[in-house]
């Protein structure tokens, strides 16, 4: 049964890879495939998949479930990075959203709906704050979001009064622990947010504007694009994503832990986005790529656990991935590489010879 399902899995995966071989997403997907293949061959039981209590169950499901937080955040982060910015405050916003929801339910005795929308509202406020600093005050994104990164966790602890607030609201618990169609409900949230992000960016013109602003801000402005509004909205949306991720994180452990929720998640999210093919300099963005990047990171972590490697060492392979991805994206590195392999350089950017000035005949040569 397992051999069969493995074969089926690989057949689908390989088919997908082949279909996407021309796409930008091919590379992160290939990396993910290689890591999974390694586990399939060398990590016993990693590929076990069974049905327990009517739910699908196995390491691969864990990866999807545990990776949900990074996936959620990376969706928003993708848009921010596409505008040429970055948001360091996502982890702090997660902690804040979790704390707000838990406080509203446990301390103030509100129901799930109030708690949910209260938390999302606060997260949106945080996004708006970041967006205003970056888009309207023109502060460098790293620095502008650093403010909330530093202060946000403090505010979260203020909200939770420094306590870990436990809650038992069934709806809230369902967010991070429930199942739908045998799969973790978090996956549904991720897919829903992916769909929403896709709708927001691809069914409106925001996606086009974000890419235009990130790729060439001046030219976009000259074309009448409201670059500031677009940038602002990207940060606002990231606030929403962080808020959702914070709720999922809290729900996962049925408690809001302002100290640890989303700690250093911003770095994972940025990494996921960059691995997924969106350049840190802005421009074209790849939502699904970011999700694959997030899965790659989570697979790396889960592999560590499964192989009984201390999770403390996990940052090392992550670091190597970061540098490798950076180098792959770097024009200079590619040039060195192509010189090294002595292959002719990739075809130049201008296929048809542009404008040789000599062509412009000048009748007045003395």
């Amino acid at each position: 049964m397992n051999v069969l399902s493995d074969l089926l899995f690989w057949a689908v995966f390989a088919g997908g890879l082949f279909a996407l071989r021309q796409q930008r997403i091919f590379w992160p997907l290939l990396a993910l495939a290689l890591l999974l293949l390694f586990n399939n061959l060398f990590t016993p039981y990693f590929f076990n998949l069974e049905i327990r209590n009517g739910y699908l169950y196995g390491s691969r499901i864990d990866i999807l479930n545990q990776g949900a937080k990074v996936m959620l955040v990376s969706l928003g982060m993708t848009l921010v990075i596409a505008t040429g910015g970055v948001d360091l405050s996502v982890g702090a916003v997660m902690a804040l959203a979790g704390a707000v929801a838990a406080r509203l339910m446990v301390v103030d005795g509100h129901g799930f709906t109030t708690a949910f929308f209260g938390a999302i509202f606060v997260a949106l406020l945080c996004g708006a704050w970041n967006g205003a600093l970056v888009a309207y005050l023109g502060i460098q994104p790293i620095i502008a979001t650093l403010i909330l990164m530093v202060a946000g966790r403090g505010i979260a602890q203020l909200v939770s009064d420094g306590q870990i607030i436990n809650f038992a609201d069934p709806t809230m618990v369902f967010l991070g622990n429930g199942h739908l169609l045998g799969l973790p409900f978090t996956l549904t949230i991720v897919l829903a947010l992916l769909a929403a992000t896709w709708m927001l960016t691809r069914r409106t013109a925001l996606g086009l504007f974000i890419e235009a602003v990130g790729d060439n801000p001046t030219a976009s402005r000259y074309s009448g694009v409201n670059a500031r509004l677009v940038t602002f909205l990207a940060y606002l949306f990231t606030g929403l994503c962080s808020g959702l991720a914070g709720l999922v994180a809290a729900s996962n452990i049925k408690s809001a832990d302002a100290n640890h929720a989303g700690l250093y998640l911003e770095l994972d999210a940025i990494l996921a986005v960059v691995v997924g093919g969106t350049a840190l300099t802005g421009g074209r963005f790849y939502l699904v790529g970011s999700l694959v990047g997030a899965l790659l990171i989570q697979t790396l972590t889960t592999t560590m656990y499964a192989r009984n490697v201390s999770a403390d060492i996990a940052p090392m392979p992550k670091a190597l991935v970061i540098i490798a991805v950076c180098l792959l994206q770097s024009e200079k590195a590619r040039r060195y590489l192509s010189r090294f392999t002595r292959r002719p350089a990739t075809p130049p950017a201008l296929p048809s010879p542009a404008v040789a000035p000599s062509v412009i005949a000048s009748p007045a040569q003395p």
Binding site: V86, L137, G138, I139, Q140, I142, I143, A144, L146, I147, L148, M149, V150, A151, G152, R153, G154, I155, Q157, L158, G162, L267, I270, L271, V274, L280, T281, S310, D312, I313, A314, P315, M316, P317, K318, A319, L320, I322, I323, C326, L327, S330, E331, K332, A333
Partner: protein
């Protein structure tokens, strides 16, 4: 009176805030004005201060270094491990300083050589060294060498006898580093080139400055200072802990910003960074003296200060234009 050069305004503001915090503390709490609090401020914040000095150079050059906390932790556990294996402390200290320097230089080479964003490269460096620290030793390790147990204490300079207040080695290192780094920034070509690159890298190229070596040098220097911070931290804690100093880079960057260094590069002051570090320390001390405030007020206060100083820099910058 000569008009104040606008670039000094943030620095002055820093000084005013620092003095105000200190004066306020003295008024509000007995014993706050004691010599011991002053000595503690310097001694307790020495390692972060030294690392922040390194970060100042990076930020003046228009870059950023996120690997600071990991380098300190790595240096600490490495020294503890080496001394534990019978290395003489001096050798262990020099070796770790050298490793810090080389590590920084590699980061610099990646940043300059491949035109990679400093943010990502140093993020990689941060992850890498954090993991490596746990490879060296997964648990915190005490350093029990006579040098640490007695010499470090003996090197403290006695200030008063009743009560006994001494000026600890860590604080001495901090002062020396600040003076040396200030001299490096003001009195060497390297230092001036850092400012030039941060202010306008294309101009620096056209002016014929050695941009490549300077940029690699800046990150090497930051690595060195972080490692030195790690050495000082071992004096302070007499132990190494691979899990320690997580997130310290943010405190360092915040201190640099509060110290009047322009985060876009080109303007910055080593003594300002020292004041920034002391302001962070003062806030912490004030909250401890208050005794019933939650420490996360520290983070909120730092966030607010950061915002104010960035706004101030922005205002000064806008006025000049």
């Amino acid at each position: 009176m000569k008009k104040i050069d606008p670039k000094y305004i943030p620095l002055l503001a820093t000084a005013v805030v620092m003095v105000a915090l200190y004066a306020g503390g003295c008024l509000a709490y007995p014993n706050f004005g004691s010599l011991r609090v002053l000595v503690n401020l310097l001694g307790d914040n020495a390692f972060i201060g030294i690392a922040a000095v390194g970060a100042t150079f990076v930020i003046i050059s228009g870059g950023i270094d996120l690997s600071v906390g990991s380098v300190i932790a790595f240096t600490g556990i490495l020294i503890a491990q080496m001394v534990g294996h019978g290395w003489p402390p001096m050798l262990a200290l020099s070796a770790s300083l050298f490793i810090g320097l080389i590590f920084g230089a590699i980061q610099g080479a990646l940043i300059h050589g491949f035109a990679l964003p400093p943010f990502l490269v140093t993020l990689g460096g941060m992850f890498f060294l954090r993991g490596l620290s746990f490879v060296v030793n997964p648990e915190s390790l005490a350093i029990k060498h006579p040098f640490y147990l007695t010499t470090v204490r003996a090197l403290a300079i006695p200030l008063t006898q009743r009560p006994i207040v001494t000026f600890p080695l860590t604080a001495q290192c901090f002062i020396v580093v600040v003076i040396a780094a200030t001299a490096l920034a003001i009195y060497t070509r390297f230092g001036r080139n850092v400012y030039a690159i941060g202010s306008s890298e294309p101009s620096a190229v056209l002016m014929g400055l050695p941009v490549a070596t300077t940029k690699i040098g800046i990150y090497a220097l930051a690595g060195f200072f972080s490692a030195l911070g790690g050495c000082v931290a071992t004096f302070y804690m007499q132990s190494g802990n691979p899990a320690s100093f997580v997130g310290l880079e943010l405190d360092a960057i915040a201190s640099v910003a509060i110290g009047g260094t322009l985060l876009t590069g080109g303007v910055g002051f080593i003594p300002g960074t020292m004041m920034g570090v002391l302001i962070l320390g003062l806030i912490q001390t004030l909250i401890t003296f208050q005794g019933n405030l939650n420490t996360w007020w520290t983070r909120i206060a730092v966030g607010v200060l950061l915002l104010l100083f960035i706004a101030l820099q922005k205002a000064v910058g806008a006025r000049r234009r």
